[in-house]
Symmetry: C2
Subunit: 145 residues, 2 copies
DNA sequence: ATCCTTGCAAAGACTTTGCAGCGTA
DNA sequence: TACGCTGCAAAGTCTTTGCAAGGAT
């Protein structure tokens, strides 16, 4: 399976092999539920909650959670939480961050300047594997009202 | 009530007026439960969960949650979540971030270089009020084993 | 045919809410 | 005294788990 570095990139993988083969190569059986979850995540503009995926696909909530857990484990998706109570999921793509409207909850993916230069000084850590960076503010349409 | 800019700083406030007066000035009645929550947050090295506060103080969980919500509302504490299921709380101090051990959950407060230069490019937002930045890695003691 | 996956239902973890009694101002 | 605060219990939200039936290889 071709990957860029050791990172999976959904679009490329799908282009190259199709969803069924991708799932098989990841060690999963290809089922319509898994394809539907991938498809939902891929077509929705922005991170989704498990509930949202159920709403879009009609698949059982427990199945959605199990599927998302599997996808997360193999690195196909990101799982993160904002200040909300529930987790958000999105297909891994180029490294990016989010900005969230404190008023309506709208989430936008954002580009960042200089994020590479942000280096934490931690005494009791030797390795840093990842980071999360989220911004909060008021979106333009909420600012009007 | 004296504040630095418009931000409350716990240590300074307590130095100046004591916990009871601080609580009164924030619009709360001074109770031993609230003082105990403040004290627990103040003396514990690092962010606490509601459960942790109960463990340290013996106060009822519901009361702890209500107290934390009040404190959060007036800006005395920060509420945030890492990748865990539960929220963490800490007294607001100088702006800082955290690094979390993916193995044991240890949390360290970290200083950051260049964080001020990180600016998101968001299309549909005009104002950004805050951000969260958390790092994840493996702490030295977990790295050994 | 085998073993993984799904849906349904129940349980679990975390947080919030209702209410009667108590404590602070 | 009055009103806000607390503890207990119940309910609510989000997520995980158990199990029998169904489906992919």
């Amino acid at each position: 399976m071709k990957t860029k570095g050791n990172k999976l990139t959904f679009s490329k993988l799908v282009d190259v092999q199709g969803v069924a083969t991708l799932l098989n190569n990841l060690g999963f059986k290809s089922t319509k539920q898994r394809a539907a979850v991938l498809s939902a995540l891929h077509s929705y503009k922005g991170p989704m909650t498990a509930e949202k995926i159920v709403a879009k696909t009609g698949i059982d909530l427990a199945t959605v959670y199990r599927t998302l857990e599997s996808f997360d484990k193999v690195g196909l998706i990101n799982k993160f939480n904002l200040k909300n109570s529930s987790f958000f999921y999105e297909i891994k793509s180029e490294h990016h961050h989010h900005i969230v409207c404190n008023h309506c909850g709208y989430i936008e993916e954002v580009e960042i300047c200089n994020v590479d230069k942000v280096v934490p000084l931690a005494k009791k850590f030797s390795t840093i594997t990842e980071h999360s960076l989220e911004f909060f503010g008021i979106c333009k349409s909420c600012a009007k009202s």
